[in-house]
Every structure is written in C-alpha cells, then in structure tokens.
Amino acid sequence: MSKSCFLFLFFSLLCVSVLAQIKIEKEYSVTPKQVPVKALAFMQKLSIKNRIKWYGEESHTGKSFEAKTKYQGKRYSMEFSEKGIIEDVEVTIRFKKLPLKIQRAIKKSLAKRFIKFRIKKVQLQYTGSETDLMKQIKGMTKLLPKYELVLKGKKAGPYCLYEFLFSNNGSTIESELKFAPDNFENLEY
C-alpha cells in the first residue's frame, strides 16, 4: 500500500472515530446536605410536594448535581453546576407530543445518519437565567426548548444507544453521544 493511501486511510478513520463521542457518565446518590446551598434554595422556591432525589454526576463535561422529581404531573430533571447554579431544566415528553414540524425535522436528520433507529426517550431542555427557568417551570413563560433524545440506532454495524441534542427547530444536531455498551452478564448467564 502506498504511503499516501495509508495516510488517507489513517486520517479518514481518525475523522470517523471523533464523529460520535462516547458518553461516559458516573452517577451516584447524594443527600441534600451534600448539595450546594444555591441549588437547594432554587428547589425550595418551587415548593415541590413530591420527593426530590439528588444525584452527583461526573462526565466528560465535568461535575454537576441533578435533582429529579415530579412536578405538576411531569417528570423534571434540574441540572446544577458544582457551585449550585442552575444550568438547565429537562422535562420528559413523548415524541408524539412534539409539534409535527419538529417531529418531521428530527426524523429527517436521523434518517440521514442511521439505517434504522428507534427513539426511546425525549426530553425538552430549557436553558436560561435562574429567573427565566423558574418562570418556565411554574408555567409563567414559554421558553424555546432544545430536544434531547435517547435512541437506538443502526449504522454500519449493530444497534447502539445514542443521545442527541437537537436545536429549537429540530433540524440541527448540536451534539451526538454514543453510550458505552451496558454490561448485564449477570442477568444473562
């Protein structure tokens, strides 16, 4: 094989390998005492009656805290920075509940990337100031969300799990992460 062919192949493979980053995330339960005061204060302002579960998270983007709860019938996940500043609010929603225009745009983008895919989970992701996010949760304003999807997709090889973040209009992919394969040998053998 000539040197130029080898170099071309090497750089092509390098490009392919960086297209989908691997999602590596370590998550663990934390008590409210371990959560930054600012984050606790934000949640207290919402006066949520349901139980709030707190988690610490370490991923490729750094360390953060997450509060998971149910509020007004919806599953919420609020992410806070290491210092307790609210970073985003995510609400779980069914894909079919999204506006048709958004559904079509997302499906069109995914069809270009995968031979086959099945959407497993959708979350509306809201970002903004603490005041705006508080108002969004209470239903006092309508921010434009981004769309976070977890799906199983098939490219050249077998099915894998991916997480995508789509822009407000559903047509631009802002990030693509591939989940590291799950190990459940102790349930199979």
Binding site: K26, E27, Y28, S29, Y55, K152, G157, P158, Y159, C160, L161, D182, N183, F184, E185, N186, L187, E188, Y189
Partner: protein, 217 residues
C-alpha cells in the same frame, strides 16, 4: 437486608420442621466472557457444588459443571445463547446442550431480565432427559440510578425449571448482593432456595449459598 435474613431463617425453620428433605450447600462459580466480534461473545464457566448439610452437617464435594457457550446479540438488549455443559458427578459424565434467549429491560432505575431456555441432558448411564426453564431477575443499583464501578447492587431472581420426562417442576428463589469491582468484573453473593417436585410433593428443599465472579476479558 435484616428483613431478608429473618425471612431466610424463618423459611429454613418452616421447611425443616416437617418431614422435609432439606440440604444446604455452597455453589462457587467463575464466569469468563470474551468478545469474539461486534455481536458475539464466548462465555466459559466453572461451577462446583459442595454439600454442607443433609440430615447432619457434612462436607461433601458433589459435582463440577464446566460450561461453554456462544452468545449472539440480536438487539441492544437481547441475546441468544447456545451452549454445552459437561457435568462430572460421582464419576459419571452428563453432557448437556442448552439454548436460551435473553431480554433485558431498563425500567427507571431497575434492570429486568428474562431468560427462557431448553436443555437436552445426555447422562452416560441413563436415558436422555429434557428440561425447559424460565427465569426473571430484577437488579437495582444501590447508589444512583445506574451501576458504576465500586458500587453495590441487589438482585432478585425467580426461576422455574420443568422436567419434561418426569413432569416435575422445580422453583428457585434467589436474592443477591453484588459489587461492580471494576469495568470488567463483578462479584455476587447470595442464597438460592430450590424446591423440587413442586407439582407432586413439596417436600425437598435445598439452600445454596452462591458466590459468583463475572469476568469480562
């Protein structure tokens, strides 16, 4: 945990009270898996059975099971296992072929596993016999919503094993505590209760203390 231990001894006491056949033992196992390709694994294991109590306390080696299977991933959470077990018991060899299908679901912070299978046993000194089995297992990480390295988890299993020749049913219940030691290995410790001949005579009870080490190469 305390409730589980109390229930275990209550059950042991209950089944031991009547004219029951009770035995207690230890089942140590090592399970080694290695990737052959994107969707296939080769899994080998060795398991022994050590009897500790039957009518009286005793220490008796009963058998060894050496197993080898090919696992083919048919979907993200589904696989087909085709395997062979060689059992060495009382100097007799029993050859076993098995076929299993697994489905594992992620439901909130739980993993729910289903395994359905059939087996064909070929003992050296007796006629072949056949069994069908179904197992359901539930696993939950004890720290967070998913299991990470250096974290514990609990697992509960329930299995029904039907012997087609005898038309007998065996049921098994097993609670475990597990530890994800590294990305490539985990250890489980638990107790498995087995009741034989459920349809005819609910009289044979076995308690096995299980220790299993799962290693991914």
């Amino acid at each position: 945990m305390r409730v589980g231990i109390v229930c275990f001894f209550l059950l042991l006491g209950m089944v031991s009270y009547g004219q029951s056949d009770v035995s207690v033992g230890w089942l140590p196992k090592i399970n080694l898996s290695s990737k052959l390709g994107a969707t296939t694994k080769w899994v080998n294991s060795i398991e022994t059975r050590e009897l500790v109590y039957k009518d009286r306390i005793r220490f008796l080696h009963k058998l060894v099971d050496v197993s080898s299977l090919i696992s083919i991933k048919t979907d993200i959470n589904q696989s087909l296992n085709l395997g062979y077990i060689l059992r060495i018991e009382d100097r007799e060899l029993v050859h076993r072929l098995f076929q299993q299908y697994n489905i594992v679901h992620n439901i909130a912070s739980f993993k729910l596993g289903h395994r359905i299978g059939v087996e064909e046993h070929f003992p050296e000194k007796s006629k072949p016999f056949y069994r069908g089995r179904y197992r359901v297992s539930v696993q939950k990480a004890l720290q967070g919503t998913k299991l990470d390295v250096h974290e514990f988890y609990i697992k509960f299993g329930h299995e029904c094993v039907y012997h087609f020749n005898d038309k007998s049913l065996e049921i098994r219940f097993s609670p475990y505590v597990g530890y994800q030691a590294s990305k490539k290995d985990k250890v489980e410790v638990g107790v498995e209760y087995r009741a034989n001949d459920l349809l005819a005579d609910f009289n044979t009870h076995r308690f096995w203390f299980r220790t299993t080490w799962y290693i991914s190469l």
